[in-house]
Subunit: 462 residues, 4 copies
């Protein structure tokens, strides 16, 4: 998972890119980068860490240019990543090129072999480099960037939303299935912004226009003239359901649906699908809140906060041993005994991945005095991995890959457990099931994919 | 404002101190420190930054000892602070002493002059050093620590909750007015923990017992025998109302009242005191949430989230100019247009200090399409500064110091504005008004205090 | 200028590579890197800074492998360099390849255009990437590394000493003119080491064998069998005189001559060519010492230290203004008044580049009381830039490019000034003038070269 | 060991203090600090590391003030030091005070007990804090700083050169025995500089005047009027011989003698005391050079460099094992085989402490082919520790504490070994033996001292 942004304006764009990346920070906390230009040589700053720690006022001042792209990256485990920091950039002949990518190319190995056969060296294991090789190959034949994008759409399998900068012109495109989101809007100064989510457009004070269509390319030339091109047309789309379930920010509008209301609506359906005579509805913050609100509204059971999240909890919390790991849930989510004691509590969350956290939360709420703990989940059981860029657990870690609802309920220690039906989910999104990718819950992907092994590692960094 | 903790156990306490400081992080994000010991020489680690960045596994391992104290510090503006990092420690004769302090000594200058007259050098401008001088002075006369605490309570004016470590024995005490909170509980291993808030006790998996009484001292000797001593008795108490309004975590129980429910109850009163025919009740997260929930429950107007907080927003967000500063509220709190458009919205917050943020939020919600924006505040108008450790704005920055509700409403651009009454607040807390410090809203303090100037700065650090 | 090293052994080589880079630190203080392997995937650590600050015990432990290469880089001014950190590495098909390079390719632009025409992307502006493209191009045609090296020697113009690692086999080669040094020796464990200077071999406790011949390639396969191949044969050689004059360490033996004794012998010639009736011979440390010793021996004038060098002087000394810059020579080289007062002093240095430092030293020695200051220089006047990797000043900064000895003497304020003759230099080295590159002092280079512009910059790093 | 400096000028002194500390860097590489003022509040910057890494242009700009003091500290082993970073500063009543100290107070424990009895808290284990307590105690009785200095000289045993800043007035004084050096001079702008060594005066472009006399105090008031006061008069002096042997820079003039020439003269005496029929005289750089030059001049045996020092060798060189530790001498000091092969070599060094380095050097020179290795040492055998601030090895590590010259010669593997006689040393310095502290070589100290234990550690820093 990653977040991308591209901005063309009449003034320097570095501060707006910074704000946009801040708004997209939830899509990737491992590293971030910005490339800017003024129709010539480029300037860049890329680093590991959060946006807040990577950029300072001085750096933003030096990132001059009225056109630019940015990227936040999710920490991918297993594969070497230090070399894959984005945006990716290079010069080719007289061209200055930079690009950033969100998604996962499932036929990476095939494409890499193909280009190595032509004598291309790959310096990273990033999907982005594949895209750059295609662009170069087309430029070499005096083809246009549009030709290159069309070729990407013909030969790349997988998900990809891309922003591309070449000699100060901005291109952005989205794979024909629309697996990863990408939209655009106007900046307050009349410029253009493309970004993974609408919140980035709003974050810079702009006005969100619409999503880029699957297979569509948007091009802003040096006169800031905007051009839309349909580069490919799939028979159906495959919008990712997990963006709605968990990944996207609740205040984003993705492919026409406000994420918050999709979640609230699922919560409402959950109350209908699995009613329970309880005293309070409680969210597991922050991801369960919209679902819980919907459940409460439909069931007329009071929405009461029972678990208070520690706002300072980061990835670095130290847990020296298993016993302490268990204790850590108390630091992260502290139950309010006074709210749960002797009560039947409905706990609402978005999904269950490994099940360990759910088990510890249920235990913690029981320990705080709850009489009953009914768990309601805003998604169907996650049974399969994602091949298109969402970093779920591997198959053997997914509690849902082998177990049914009853067993899971027992394992997490809940009084009852219910998952939202696929129907409820599809209805809430408001898009036909055939235009959604439901692979992680049905095992049916938009096109055949094999289990992707970790890509060939160039080198290990110490 | 600060957070303090002290733990005595049968095993190493550094990890528990770390967890407790994590739970108290909201009381101070400027620096943190731990001192541990095993009835002899002490070990320490103190640094600027968040708890998560200051301590790592290696450091915690080196902080050996079954007794220890910890501190998180709030960034105080104006006075030099680099020298004032806590806990404070020193050896005196054969004694190893460390202490940490939450509060503000209002007769600091008088006491400092008194001790300088005796030839004492002050190396910091911290209140804590005053307390250490008193302890030394008593030890010198072969008096006990209990004597020293009694003397503190006689001569110190102001607020102070203190944890003190001497030769492996733990002492904790609270000023006779109880201005700053301090409670204790049992650890899972049967040890003792004292901490600013009950969440720290729960955060280490312990069981909260009760608050330390104003004027009370608790002492745990080397055999872990616990002793309670009433060292002073004021005619009335002066529990801080602002802990309930804003400062303490909502899941803490302070002086008998669950903070969340105090806030919810005020919200409920607000709905009665200032009802309005609106479509939705919306919180300004996170501080307004409990109030908003109470308002919604009482008014039967739906609680709907309309402002989504960026979870990655830190102190370091760059705002190069005024115009951009205005824009920054969009990054921090993004309104969901779909939830507010053409609606009458009740926005609930805990308090208004300068008024600038409130103005920007109201504007942002209007810009997102709200038809009416009714502001409801969970506290009376803050008119006066706090002299006891809460870092509010200075008097001329407080929007409430000169303005009445009507004017403030106009200035922040709200359709209507209402502040909770003092009665509602007192009722919600459940403690007699005479036992509360309401100085910031009434101007009446528990005892006469002058405007405290910035203390003499020893030196400026580059 | 750079330093390179490659080691094949029976045990882990990272510590030996580290020691070797330490011994070569004078060849480059900007950055350093190591790549190691065990006939498969590679491990690397590369960073800006001195060898001492880049590597620690933990890092060296993680750099496992019995084969490896290392590099120290000189800070090149003007061109973007952050991307050019070495060793350079990549995978190609199933091959793991790393290489490090010392030298300067004068037909870089032509070669880059040629490979871009073939669709190759250049991600750096480093000469090393050109070499890697040639290797790939040959591998693609199923040619051997030997073929690739032969092709390098055919098409590359300029200087290059290279160490190359491919699938655990080590290759090293030197351009047909021998412009940059490269030698090899045995390690204490019976392995092989190639390095820019013999001091690196001695630094790891090994035994220096001989220089790699111009146009020669050395290859160590996976069985540690060593193979020598003559890949090209130039009609004459072009060993760099500046390595002897200044760049190489005095304790290195380069192409058969001990650098210290070359310098001492030039000093001796200087005493014959330009005798002067003076009281003492004084070195400008450290570069002038061997010359001064030779001068003293030949002239029988006492060698006395008069300028004491501050051993802690680094690149970071702050000089806020021109006036302070002048003062800085006092910090760097403090004259001993007692040794120079009222005396005729002979100051000996290796060369004069811009002339500003010489002027300040002469002034400083006069200020300390010297009656006469006779400057003697261990090289002919440097009139022309170097195109083969030595970073002298640009032509218009070279004091010798326009001025004759008399004018320079006047400008630096010396009583008299004499430069060593080319004959003295050639005699001292003991190699025929036709086999030396004397371009910087004669303007005659081993082959025609144009003024090399700064290479196309990919991007500017903030 | 430490270095101190104080400057009063008409313009900002921070840059001059920085230059002076650079010139004194050899006296302490552990930490450094500067305090400046303009007759009021002070500004400071103190940190661990070298002067070059601690200060940057921005920091120096912020260190405003026309009066200031600075300090470099030697890493003391065994005792906790993080708290002892200097200069030390504090406010007392209305006074702003800072001080820095070089030396060692041998009755520290007695004095500390005395002041603790009076109720003083000690926050550090630094001698400097003792001095500050004395100053406070006198100010409290309305005595002057001069009175305080007189009292220091009465009650402190040990060595101390001190610079003191109080309300913008500079004081400097030296203990009655003159154990540690301290001199003063004029700055280029007509101001005053006091510093541990004359090189610091020259380093800022100033003119050295003379040493501060033992027992003398210098005072510069706010009108920059300079006053000299004899505060104490000892019956004899005790100038440290080790400053001449090793510690001071060779270009410093200390108590009337140029250090370089003291060393050269000892070298000359060595040639007379222990002549040997050898081929070359070789220095162990850098400390042996002046001695070797003297030996060569007297003996007429050629001075030839045979050991080349790696200029980049720092404290951080990694030596994972004993075997590698032995190897490290090759990295640090590389022998030139061509200069020593089959020759009788005289190696000259300043002193032998543990003997291990000497043994490795002798072995390395023999390994490089030397036929004979005659070691000549510029000091008598070091038999006893120093109690006055020179950090020699502890007694049981001193090779000379139990062994005679013959045994040491055998242990280090030399062909012959000779130490300079005490007479030669005293003659070279030109000061009566009764006015020198020769404790480390004779065991006779200027006054009775006990073995000083490590001072009470306040706390251990993680």
């Amino acid at each position: 998972m990653c977040g991308i942004v591209g901005i063309v304006s009449s003034a320097d764009v570095s501060y707006s890119l910074y704000c946009a990346l801040y708004a997209l920070q939830h899509r990737g906390q491992d590293s971030a980068g910005i490339v800017t230009t003024d129709y010539g040589p480029m300037v860049t700053h890329r680093k590991q860490g959060l946006v807040s720690s990577i950029f300072d006022e001085d750096t933003l001042k030096k990132l001059t240019g009225t056109v630019g792209i940015g990227h936040v990256r999710y920490p991918t485990t297993g594969c070497s990543t230090a070399e894959n920091i984005q945006p990716f950039f290079f010069t080719f002949k007289s061209h200055h090129i930079a690009l950033a990518h969100n998604g996962n190319i499932t036929n990476y190995t095939t494409l890499r072999d193909m280009f190595e056969e032509k004598g291309q060296i790959f310096l990273t294991t990033s999907d982005t480099e594949i895209i750059s090789k295609i662009i170069i190959d087309e430029l070499l034949q005096n083809h246009t960037i549009e030709d290159a994008v069309r070729r990407c759409m013909r030969i790349i399998e997988g998900s990809y939303s891309v922003v591309l900068l070449i000699d100060g012109e901005l291109y952005a495109f989205r794979d024909p299935f629309g697996l990863r989101p990408l939209g655009f809007g106007k900046t307050a100064e009349g410029g253009l912004i493309v970004a993974s989510e609408s919140v980035a457009v709003e974050g810079i004070g702009g006005t969100f226009e619409r999503d880029i269509l699957p297979g569509e390319m948007i091009h802003v030339d040096q006169n800031r003239t905007i051009r839309f091109v349909e580069c490919a047309k799939a028979e159906h789309y495959a919008y990712c359901i997990f963006e709605y379930i968990y990944f996207a920010r609740s205040d984003s509008v993705i492919d026409g649906a406000l994420v918050y209301d999709v979640r609230r609506s699922i919560g409402s359906s959950l109350a209908q699908e699995a009613p329970v005579d309880a005293d309070i509805v409680c969210t597991i913050p922050d991801s369960g809140t919209a679902y819980a609100v919907g459940y409460s509204e439909q069931s007329n059971i009071s929405f009461v906060e029972c678990l208070i999240k520690n706002r300072y909890m980061g990835r670095t919390f130290i847990m020296p041993s298993q016993e302490m790991r268990e204790r850590s849930v108390r630091i992260k989510l502290n139950p309010i005994s006074q709210h749960v004691r002797d009560r039947a509590v409905i706990l609402v969350d978005d999904s269950i991945v490994r099940g360990t956290t759910s088990r510890m939360i249920v235990e913690s709420v029981r320990h705080a005095g709850a009489a009953e703990v009914h768990m309601r989940i805003g998604s169907p059981i996650i049974k399969e991995p994602c091949y298109f860029g969402v970093d779920m657990a591997t198959r053997d870690q997914l509690i849902g890959s082998e177990k049914e609802c009853d067993e899971i309920c027992k394992q997490i220690g809940a009084t009852s457990l219910h998952y939202a039906s696929l129907n409820a989910l599809v209805d809430a999104i408001g898009i036909a099931e055939t235009d959604l990718c439901t692979g992680c819950v049905t095992g049916t992907y938009p096109f055949p994919v094999g289990r992707k092994p970790c890509k060939r590692t160039t080198i290990q960094y110490m």
